[in-house]
């Protein structure tokens, strides 16, 4: 029954040596090992997290780029449309301006014709009046000389007038 009886000496040495080993290993082996393992796991975790983040950022960037591109395209369309509008407006305006000018010139021409006509009429009226006065003068003079000749003269003048 020797093997099931613990011996004092071995218990003593086991206690002393095991605790010494425990202390030394804890200090010089387990602590640095466990620390290094945790550090490495942390760094792997961090790296994975950062990769995930980078992926997300990349996606965001891509989405941003696409949005920018779409915006630019939209703006270009807008600008083209505006340009068209402005061009159309310009043509329209030119047309109306030209029409107006033409109308104005025609109006002016009409007015000046009217004026000339009025002037001419006034001149005719003046000439007719002058003539009438001349005739009347000559008539009057003739009457003083011979009535028959006078009559004859009136007739002559009237004939002249009609001829004019």
């Amino acid at each position: 029954m020797d093997i099931v009886t613990p011996e004092l000496g071995l218990i003593f040495w086991q206690l002393v040596i095991f605790l010494l080993v425990l202390f030394l290993l804890a200090k010089f082996a387990w602590k640095p090992i466990l620390l290094a393992l945790r550090d490495r796991e942390d760094s792997i975790d961090n790296a994975l997290r950062m990769a995930e983040q980078a992926k997300l950022e990349m996606q965001n960037l891509k989405a941003g780029n696409e949005k920018l591109l779409a915006d630019a395209r939209h703006e270009r369309d807008q600008m083209l449309k505006e340009g068209q509008n402005i061009a159309n407006q310009l043509v329209e305006k030119a047309k109306t301006d030209a029409t107006e000018e033409a109308n104005r010139i025609a109006q002016q021409a009409r007015e000046s014709i009217q004026q000339e006509k009025n002037q001419a009429l006034a001149e005719v009226r003046n000439t007719a009046a002058q003539l009438s006065v001349d005739i009347a003068e000559r008539l009057l003079r003739r009457e003083l000389a011979d009535p028959a000749a006078q009559q004859k003269l009136v007739d002559e003048y009237l004939k002249d007038v009609k001829l004019n």
């Binding site: 613990p6 011996e7 004092l8 071995l10 040495w13 804890a26 393992l37």
Partner: protein
Amino acid sequence: MKRLLTLFFCLCTFAGFAAEPTEGGEKEEAFNPGEMILHHIGDSHEWHWFSTDDNHFTSYLPIIAYRPGKGLSVFSSKKLAAEPHPAREESPSRKRAAGGSHSEGPEYDGLMLREGKLMTADGSKVYDLSITKNAVALLGSAVLMLVVFTSVAAGYKKNQGRAPKGIQSFFEPIIIFIRDEIAKKSIGPKYERYMPYLLTVFFFIWFNNLLGLTPGAANLTGNIAVTATLAIITLVITLFSANKNYWAHIFATPGVPKLLLPIMVPVELIGAFLVKPVSLTIRLFANITAGHIVILSFISLIFIFRSPAVAPISLAFGLFINVLELLVAILQAYIFTLLTAMYIGGAVEEHHHDEEHALDMQTGPAGSVIPNPAAH
């Protein structure tokens, strides 16, 4: 010649030697396998390596004896060895070395060895603190562990931020397994404080189990003093980390009627202070010792039948058991460490009611739940 044969067995764990049994078996009285085996798995004051026909190759180890009143005496165990070399003639020392019966070694300084036990000539009290074979093996394994694990630690310093290399990459998965599968799962969030002990106890048991399988080596983890000491250290750590829930569980077990407490308290106390450490002690001791006994028994068959024809069968079975022992070596280290972690886990557990457990199982993170059969 019987003794010659039995001495020969020092090499018999080393199977190659057993294949050439000497012809001398029949000259002597019956070979006693029981004595031989017990000698091999036991401790002794000298380290017997092997013997030839003419010589013993034995290292005599220091005897350290403390006698109340007389103080400490230190001397070589050679002074107590019955008969020095050569060992040709029948000598008590050879008898003792060969299985240890009735040897009458000389007396020195009032001390003598009787059946491997240190005694005083006058029958007074003596404390034997000798560096026995197992103590030497213990020292050797301690040095081995220190060398191995400081070089592993050095690897982490050298390969900082890089992949592990060499010995470091061999031990890293094991260390991580102990941390993640044993400590984190059994102890919970406070596992870090107990990692050094768990790792040390695991590798101590594993290394010594393997060293114990080496031919000529001591059977350290198959010694009840060693396993008992480990179990007691586990018990002390458990008791010192125990929180009030643990004590409440022992002295006022929840859900137990007051009337039953006089029965329950002793049961819980026995469970915590006696059953757990004793089961740890015996499990490791018995597993390792049994393995050695089985291997030695197979080898003994050759000498019991006194026929070399048995050798191949013996060797085949011996080899099989030896390989099995390699598995048992790491398995027992794992079991001891796991149970230690579970006992500590039960002691540091924050909550201890069943309904809380059930709730936590559903909601808590996996690591926070402590599976602890020992606490219920």
